[in-house]
Amino acid sequence: MTERSGFRAQWRWLSWALMAIVVTAALIVGSVADDGIRTDAERLTALASTIRCPQCTGQSVAESNVTIAREIRGDIRNRIAAGETDDEIRQVYIDRYGRSIVLTPDSGGFTGLVWVVPVVAAVVSLAAVGLAFRRWRLEAEAIPEASDADRELVAALRRSRS
């Protein structure tokens, strides 16, 4: 039995190792073969999704069909064709419409808190959980081993309940 389970245990380690190789290889192929070049249309969609429609609440210019949104999409398309970078195009719109035209909040200043606070919250809560586990472990270790008297008590309870 031991021999067989030893064999199985070994096989399992091999299986996991093989899996790790397969996964790594696939991820490498998948991320490297993506040469990252996006077509103009893709860039337009991606950029337009980050710019708020000035007229409509809660929609990006990629989504809204009001005149100004369509004009902005056309303008972005022209700027992409003219070779401007994403950041340059975004800056043009910030200059004209203010910071709120971009749907991604600033990462600096007070606004940057919206990025930082959740991360801090997550770290703090995980730390709290970790501390709780540590406290429990220490409590468990502080419990003395069961003595014979304890076992007698349990046995007596069992007898009385059956």
Binding site: P54, C56, D75, R96, Y97
Partner: protein, 198 residues
């Protein structure tokens, strides 16, 4: 206990925040452009001629973004007609920029409501974006120095008297600074309801 107190504080702050926020109207209007040099408006007009904003330096120019379909534009148009008449030979002029409309519709709009100032009809999208237009109609005032000094959203305040009053205030400010046209001063409130005329 700490957790209770902490969550109580957070929730109290949230409630306070929500209680003190205004419910504002949609689409925040922006006034980023005030104080900047007015972007160029150049191109063929409805009447068949051509127009160049930079050549109008030295005059006050009222830039009016409109579309034949928008109601506000119809409301303010007669006022612009009057303003145009008043200053036909003066240093205050109007240029219209058609936005999101067809040439025929714009032509009929002018035929119906009057007015003969130059109206831009081609490639007006980039012009609108350069001027930070959000919704129609929007009207801006360009000073003789070439800077934008006032912006009206919607037809309120866009009256012949109202525009004149604003220009007069810039030309003769209380305090007699010479370069009134360069100050952004009262431009922050988008709707000027000053007709404390004269």
């Amino acid at each position: 206990m700490i957790a209770s107190a902490a969550s109580a504080v957070v929730l109290a702050v949230l409630v306070f925040l929500l209680a003190t926020s205004d419910t504002e109207q949609s689409g925040s209007v922006n006034f980023e452009i005030l104080g900047d040099v007015a972007p160029q408006i150049q191109g063929p007009t409805l009447a068949g001629g051509s127009y160049d904003l930079y050549e109008q330096r030295g005059d006050w120019v009222v830039v009016n973004f409109f579309a034949s379909t928008c109601v506000g534009g119809r409301i303010e148009h007669p006022e612009l007609v009057e303003f145009n008449e008043r200053h036909r030979n003066g240093d205050r002029q109007i240029v219209g920029v058609m936005f999101g409309d067809t040439e025929n519709a714009a032509r009929e709009f002018f035929l119906e409501l009057g007015g003969d100032w130059p109206a831009m009809i081609e490639d007006t999208g980039p012009i609108a974006i350069d001027y930070g237009v959000t919704a129609l109609p929007e009207t801006l005032l360009v000073a003789p120095s070439g800077r934008v000094v006032q912006k009206w959203v919607g037809p309120q305040g866009v009256t012949a008297d109202g525009i004149d009053a604003v220009i007069d205030r810039f030309e003769n400010p209380p305090g007699a600074a010479e370069d009134a046209a360069d100050s952004v001063g009262a431009g922050e409130s988008g709707e000027s309801d000053e007709d404390a005329g004269d």
